[in-house]
Assembly symmetry: C2
Homo-oligomer: 234 residues x 2
DNA sequence: GCAAATTAATGATTTATTCAAG
DNA sequence: CTTGAATAAATCATTAATTTGC
């Protein structure tokens, strides 16, 4: 019953442009903090929520990958076709379909439990050289002298860090891709030792204080904490 | 770097028991409010966050379904085997595999874009008769006289409402399965008309006031607003 | 031109897979 | 081996494009 909206988010051209620029610059799965900041920025151009940003990246990434997949598949098909034609000159009865079952997008999941990311091998240069993003509202349209803020989004370490897939596989790594944690972490206070049955009324647990109001940080000072930026597995 | 925790949530027996009881009573995909309440309740028995509850239901549902799938598949295989054996008494060369390709869990997605939920037809009696859940902390172990709070969780309308899949396909339906909206809706204030370029510094947008501290509601007064409870499609 | 009818895009959700802690 | 956590894929549902008959 809200006055307006109540329908799905429809990105304004500016919002879309910025989002695409961010994507192009290498952002794939922004974490909670990043989403918050991006949202705050884009809110300047129109209605938008954090989930919109989240979904946008999710979808864009997926559909990008899908597009690529389709393209590669087509290529393979052609290659294969040529190969078969060539082989027919040699032996009369060629192997029916030798390659087609490997990366045919129309045959998803031949591998049922193959325990490997399906498309890891299809990663491509998505974070080549971050193109400058202009986000300062004072400089709209002056893209030429944009502040190259994208550097803050894109994982600075272009390759090195990407290689150590698991940063010790332990705690440390403060947070990275913890948006849901952040989103849902409005639950009860820190909590209790564990199954120590202290008779405390649960009702008083939920009045959780503002929990750090999450004020806007500088201008995208993402300290590149999450060395697990997506380009490592796209 | 938090003092304790830093490891994944490990449900206490009590928490687990309650969660399973809730699941048994028909809860499948609790919405934001429900998650909050459940979390608040379970926090009494030990450390727990909203996301834990969320994930638990997610996983439990998935694995339940998976188990069932496997079971049915096995049944089918046997049936089929028997059938073939019987048929072999009649004709020497039976139809190779007539049924196996229909519900074989090892052949996911034959249908590539069939636009129908894969396992809708496998729904089963998950919400038969909600077994009573005991959540009042005063009555632990006295399950016999539990307050049947589960009624509040399970979508009261056992069938009727389920049929009208889309409640007018419009606004109204305040919210239902909006947990992410709620989780992520800590973004900027309500927002702006739309692309009206008012020069306002974005920096001041994020100091969003507590945004309704989300105090604990009554004792699970879920007003069954979301008529889209999961039992309709599990 | 233009409004109903189709179709293509894409925002929003749900489900399936995968990873890895214990 | 079980299961909490996280991500990717599939799917649904609107909205925007585009086509079509007038």
């Amino acid at each position: 019953m809200s006055p307006v909206a109540a329908t799905r988010w429809c990105p304004t051209p500016e919002q879309l442009m910025i989002l695409e620029e961010m994507y192009r610059s290498g952002i794939r799965t922004p974490n909670a903090v990043q989403i918050q900041q991006i949202t705050a920025h884009l809110a300047f151009y129109g209605r938008i929520e954090g989930k919109n940003v989240f979904y946008w990246f999710q979808n864009h990434k997926a559909r990008d990958r899908q597009k690529l997949r389709k393209k590669l598949a087509k290529q393979l098909h052609q290659q294969q076709h040529h190969l078969q034609l060539q082989l027919q000159h040699i032996q009369p009865n060629p192997i029916s379909q030798p390659l087609s079952n490997i990366i045919d997008p129309h045959n998803h999941y031949h591998h049922h439990y193959n325990h490997h990311r399906p498309y890891d091998h299809m990663s491509f240069a998505c974070c080549s050289q971050p193109s400058p993003i202009c986000l300062s509202h004072q400089a709209i349209g002056v893209e030429a002298q944009s502040k190259v803020l994208s550097e803050h989004y894109c994982n600075k370490s272009g390759r090195e860090d990407m290689l150590m897939q698991k940063p010790i596989t332990g705690q440390n790594t403060s947070y990275g891709r913890d948006w849901m944690m952040m989103m849902m972490d409005m639950g009860p206070r820190p909590s209790y030792p564990s199954s120590s049955s202290v008779p405390v009324p649960y009702c008083n647990m939920m009045i959780n204080s503002p929990k750090i109001p999450l004020k806007t940080l500088e201008l995208f000072p993402i300290s590149s904490i999450n060395s697990k930026q997506d380009s490592s597995k796209l």
